[in-house]
């Protein structure tokens, strides 16, 4: 048994950290302009993109000529429990409801949130009233992923 046999990557934990950081940037926008801040900002942008298109399939695959044999290594089996994105998608849903209610469609809300992230990263500021929606969204997201 080797160290790497433990599957320790937890998407939910990382998503929580990223949501927490982005929520903090809403209160301290200048911190969002650093290179390191781009990591949580890009990740959250990407999560929103996947949420917008409902496209969360993310398994890694073997190459086209890697035909498994009966005796071969077992490939990624169906994940035990929920897929990686279930808790994240649910948290995004909750956060969307909290921030926008029925005011905007998922598509409109995601586009606005992504725009807020972009402004944060580039200008270090977010326009009101988008800022209020964004604050509510990211703090609810953080709490929902806890």
């Amino acid at each position: 048994m080797s160290i790497s046999s433990y599957q320790v990557h937890s998407s939910g934990a990382l998503a929580r950290r990223f949501a927490s950081l982005v929520a903090s940037y809403m209160d301290d926008p200048t911190a969002a302009k650093s290179e390191t801040a781009k990591v949580p900002l890009e990740n959250v942008y990407r999560m929103l993109e996947m949420f917008r298109y409902d496209a969360f399939a993310d398994d890694s695959r073997l190459g086209v000529l890697a035909l498994e044999t009966l005796e071969g290594d077992r490939p990624a089996s169906r994940e035990r429990g929920s897929p990686w994105h279930t808790s994240i998608a649910q948290a995004l849903d909750s956060a969307l409801m909290a921030a926008y209610g029925a005011q905007k469609s998922k598509e409109e809300a995601v586009v606005e949130l992504q725009d807020s992230l972009r402004r944060l990263a580039v200008e270090g500021a977010v326009d009101e009233p988008n800022a209020q929606h964004a604050r509510t969204f990211f703090s609810t997201l953080r709490a929902s992923l806890a």
Binding site: S4, V8, H9, S10, S11, A13, L14, A15, R17, F18, E35, T36, K38, V39, P40, L41, E42, N43, Y45, R46, M47, E49, M50, R52, Y53, D54, A55, A57, D58, D59, S60, R61, L62, G63, V64, L65, A66, L67, E68, T69, L70, R74, P75, S77, R78, W84, H85, I88, Q114, L117, R118, A121, V122
Partner: protein
Amino acid sequence: MNARDFLKQEHDNVKQLLEQSLRYEYGFEGSQEFFEECGTRLSFISQWLGSPDELVADDLANIGYQLNELSKLICRIERSSLGEYSWPFVEELKKLATGICTEDGLEGQYPPKIYVLAGGGLDAYRIYPEMRRPMASRRRLLTIVFPKTLKHFVLLHPILGHEIGHALWGCTKQQAHLVGKVLSVLKRLGGKFESEDVTAVHLFDSQAPHDAQAALAALANLRVDEANFFGQWARWEFWLDEILCDLVGLATFGPSFAAAQCGLLSTLDPAGVTTGRMHPPVGWRINLVLRAAELLNLSEPPPDPHPLRQSFLAFWDELQRFRRPEPWFNVFDDNQIVDALDGIFQLLNQYPPSGYPKTDFDALGELVQQLANGVPPIGFHMSEGGAPVCSRVDFRHIVYAGWISRHSLQPHSFDITNRLCEHAIMQQIAIDTAMSQP
């Protein structure tokens, strides 16, 4: 030493490893982007480790995982130095992949950050993006791997068209399109991929060929049968993805993909009946691709008496020999195949030149003739007036000419044909460069 201290040490180790990787030259674009991306990842991890908050077990486990993956990534890059793979083919492949794998990101449109390396074994052929789920990364890297033994074998490299399918799947908007416009077609009601159960019924059909039944019977030792085949053994959704990727391969590389797929997959599984956990039977896939090629009119020959006609027909006749005649191997009807290809081309056509360009028989014939003369096939000839005339030729047509030339009266060896075509791709880049001058 506690976990946090060890991880801090390992972070420093990985940082040194990154710097040491600059010993080598990494392709024309160099190593700057890769270095900066890894540097950003390390900075994020460093900030996390240095956080004044207490790090819980989950945090430490995640940090350890991220460092582990980063270390593996940096070690892999040393296999991506120039000279390990066919850079002319890669340059063309990048042009093809860049448009279709561009994603929306925080600061606009992000073309893929590609790096290429050589690996051991035929199963090294692979294109894979980093995962989209939360990772301590800013930009995702797209890795292309070639088998080192096949460095110059450009006639086989079109197999990577299948892998472009996986790369597309790894982009959010593209995945959504493929789900809506292609997978939905493959899973159409009444078809053999309507559901897991329906596919399993077809797989274990008593009318299946004897060798297919024997291959499935071997699974009985592992207590796998029709009822639990997709629950316990194989992943049905992965099978569908592989089928989708085969169609993407054909749509991007055309006949050369069909030839490479038939040749390579049949080498690994000559009967075409082995089922894999992640791959459907090879025979299903070959039959599908050959039928799809027919429906795209790729196998439609030039009219008689075109000089290319005999070699062309011989090429396609040879491919037909890989087809299994039993109905069990045909899992999609023509309407499904046509509609699925339509969905794929809807995506590819948004990003020219990713779709396979239409073949011009006269131009193709000239390329084949150059090969017959032992000359790399490119867009060049001398005009009647004695002036040199250069023209653009898509690299996929160069490779297709290579396959067809194998059926000329006196073909070169497979090795020489590949070398001539690889050389041609390089020369054609020079022609395109010269023609781009105002």
